[in-house]
Symmetry: C2
Subunit: 533 residues, 2 copies
């Protein structure tokens, strides 16, 4: 039994190598910008008004620009105080720009924005220096909407009436404002000197954040209120940063492929590649996007809550005390790793996947996903656990996992067949999210959740949702790329497909009905004598 | 002695002939517009989100368009309720448009906007049907800022600090909101179904309405915070009409030639004429704009408060009971007209001008403006007056009037000389405002306040300020014309001119130092034996 320490509670994952690679390619052109202006001081022969003069100056640089009423006085006072040398911040709008702050001389020193990954469970806020593109600080917490219901369907139901919708919105907005305030306090920044925000989330999370009714997301024909809200302002959304700050929510493709998933296409740059690539983000839904520079298709399968804490009998979130890695040898001996320096309390999603893979490879679970011995398997005996009770995996837990695995691999098969590409032709396979980051790759392949590709072509993107938000915050080209991507993606609505349902029913085999699609798994099974050649 | 009835308290003057002439020329293209959309209902094969679909539809019609967050839910609900047949209102922005309301089917029936003339003393609100361009209703009242000070300098002083500025703004906004509510109640309209506003006022009034510091308007080099605020929204300004409604304040040229004066150029269409024309608006300041289709010059002279109620010894506002017309024959017999069916209480501005002109023509005031008999002249003996006291004109009153007349005619001479045009070359002479409307034209010429032109070329525009607001409300071409006019006007700052000061000092002659400029007056004076040929 090994233990190792890891950042608990909320896993904020950053694939630094990837980030720096993308950084170099993203030319800095943030959605809020700082500008210093030296205007001609007025005289009797030059009686242009302060605001008109500044507007003319800004129009020469930015084209269409609006100076809102709440900035006019500040701008004029800054002109006088700075002898017509002033600095300003402009924020992007759907068309043109708006002056959102002004100060005398060079009194606006920094240019910070925030990138947000708003998940059903976890919300992460990144403080970004928009002049360098760098992440300056990170803060994460649970989404306060969890108080109203852990699962997303409960929240969708509650938000069906105006009162509940307001509660959901307030919870999301408050979660963000608290995180932003925490970062600002730590960095000694004024919150209204944060000048932009980019937000990535699934369609429901974006609807709830914006106070929009998500009811139709789960009613055929599954039409959201909006997929691309465009540039909003912090004032409109309720964020406490500068009220005129542009707030850009990454556009989604449909009810079940939101901006958080499309961000993966942007971050992986699969939309620029010749090879056909696959992007998978597994949460409550498994979102899958496939394609290359010429075409993109997407679908989503309801993966179910099997991997979420509290569903499996010994299940828990990926917090300190959670078993996150498991190995079982042919003698049924178990090794496990626990998050943090604690006695084990339960088992998290990545631990469960490990369990199923290891039980399968040890011959303790058959290809149909049934335990061959008893109807449970003890991972940690009560003597070693924090509670004194066994930490175990039940047949029920495995059935749930098989449904999740089945939904994802059926969706994957469906896409692959629809476009006439075979899994072996895939160039790269990308996974997203903290789950994708900590999940044991071999285990995921062993149970057929991931395709069996060359391992160097299987790339973990880390928090590609947050990273996508950072990219559109600092690069207008990336934002335009993202909008082009959403327009180019063909979305398959699996809820309405009989072909998919048939695939789903027949997909509950480990690792797949056709074992030849999984050559390395086949080899292992043969080596261990689970199957014959 | 004659009496006749006239609309009292606030004189809302509409030159109907002029308005209808202009109407025909203004192609209807209002700053808020109604649009009916028939969108494709969604299906499994057409999963475009409601807001995205409407935006695409609107972009095909209006180009750049923004759908703000507060309309998204309403729009989506209207789609469902109206089976994707919806109506919407779009409001103009500096660049592009914004959707400001949405409803199912054809549930948005009317398209009303308001045109506002915000004067130092009087505020007039016109309800405009933006689909026909017609005035539907009018409501006027005193500007609530009067409570803080009748004269504009007091208010500028008070607005120098933030607290006073807020008070001034609140007073102006409240004045407008009350007037709008009164109209809406009368017409059975919801106030948030008023979808646009255009506001004309002098630079100080616009600054105070918008909560901007007007202090620099009266400090050299006389630079306002803003001359052209562009399109604001009702929410920004504080008007209770639809919060997204565009609010357009007519741009001014300088601290002393505001949008209310430039409106006169638009309404008179002098900017399209070959002949050199002159526009004069006499209030606390005398604003003068001269020019034609090729060039325009403007200046303003501090006319002083001589014509305002409460300054002259028997002075009062043009309310019921005010003597507004006076005739004096060579036997010093007086005839007068009173506003309303009341006994005379005092004398208003137009009555004072009549007095001076009649006293001059009767030989009771000399060319230097001095009473030749006593140092006062009784217009209404106490026996006929409401108070039992004489209503009279004093030498002091005449001195004040001479200053006003001098300021205006010196400014006029200055402009004429600066551009090398003689008064006799003028094509048309336009006067603005209620004062210009009721003032006896002959009296104004007799004392040299107006130039001595052919009478059919002297045109009273009525409330050209309000009319200009109506025009830009309903015609984007007129708005563009107005902005082009402000850019083309060369502004002369008289406060800084020695030449003007010399003219001012020498201008206090009746009607002018050079009597040949006033041939009809000269003829009258000869006829009456006041002067010899």
């Amino acid at each position: 039994m090994n233990k190792f320490s890891k950042q608990g509670a909320v896993n904020v994952v950053n694939n630094n190598i990837l980030r720096e690679r993308v950084m170099q390619e993203a030319s800095l052109d943030p959605i809020a910008q700082k500008i210093c202006m030296e205007l001609d001081p007025p005289s009797l022969s030059n009686n242009q008004a302060d605001v008109d003069k500044a507007r003319q100056y800004l129009e020469n640089v930015y084209g269409n620009i609006r100076i809102p009423l709440n900035i006019m006085q500040k701008l004029s006072s800054a002109c006088k105080a700075g002898n017509w040398k002033i600095s300003g911040i402009v924020g992007k709008r759907n068309s043109g720009w708006e002056l959102i702050d002004a100060a005398e001389d060079h009194n606006i020193q920094s240019l910070y924005g925030i990138a947000v990954d708003i998940g059903t469970t976890t919300v992460v806020v990144y403080l970004i220096d928009m002049e360098s593109g760098k992440i300056i600080d990170i803060q994460a917490s649970y989404n306060k909407q969890v108080d109203f219901g852990e699962d997303i369907l409960t929240r969708i139901f509650l938000a069906g009436d105006e009162n509940g919708r307001q509660q959901m919105k307030n919870a999301a907005v408050e979660t963000l404002n608290i995180l932003i305030r925490q970062i600002c306090e730590r960095k000694n920044l004024k919150i209204n000197e944060i000048y932009a925000a980019a937000v990535a989330g699934n369609s429901t999370m974006i609807h709830l954040l914006l106070g929009l009714d998500p009811s139709n997301i789960c009613i055929s024909p599954y039409i959201p209120v909006v997929n691309n809200p465009g540039f909003l302002t912090a004032g409109e959304v309720g964020l406490e940063i500068n009220s005129g700050a542009p707030v850009y929510c990454l556009p989604g493709v449909g009810s079940y492929v939101g901006g958080d998933a499309v961000a993966g296409v942007l971050v992986s740059e699969m939309y620029k590649k010749k090879e056909v690539c696959l992007f998978v983000d597994i949460g409550t839904n498994g979102e899958i996007i496939m394609g290359n520079k010429d075409w993109l298709v997407a679908c989503a399968g309801a993966a179910g809550p099997a991997l979420e804490g509290g569903v499996a009998q010994s299940g828990m979130r990926a917090e300190p005390g959670a078993v996150e890695e498991v190995a079982i040898n042919m003698d049924k001996e178990v090794q496990y790793k626990v998050i943090g320096d604690e006695k084990p309390k339960g088992i998290c999603g990545s631990g469960l996947i490990d369990c199923l893979a290891q039980l399968f490879l040890a011959g303790l679970v058959d290809r149909g996903g049934k335990l061959t011995c008893e109807d449970y398997f003890v991972i940690v005996p009560g003597a070693e656990s924090a509670t004194g009770e066994d930490i175990l995996v039940t047949q029920q837990d495995i059935d749930n996992l098989m449904r999740t695995k089945g939904a994802v691999s059926a969706a994957l098969d469906y896409l692959v067949e629809s476009v006439g590409v075979s899994l072996s032709e895939l160039g790269y396979f990308y996974t997203a999210g903290a789950f994708g980051q900590y999940l044991n790759l071999e285990s995921a392949v062993n149970i057929g959740l991931y395709p069996d590709l060359q391992r160097e072509r299987m790339i973990r993107l880390g928090n590609s949702s947050g990273e996508g938000a950072r990219l559109v915050l600092i690069s207008d080209q990336k934002r335009k790329d993202l909008e082009a991507i959403t327009k180019n993606i063909t979305y398959f609505e699996l809820n309405a497909s009989n072909v998919f349902m048939n695939k789903f029913v027949s997909s509950k085999f480990l690792p797949h009905t056709n074992l030849d699609f999984f050559p390395t798994v086949k080899e292992r099974l043969i080596k261990r004598g689970i199957i014959s050649e």
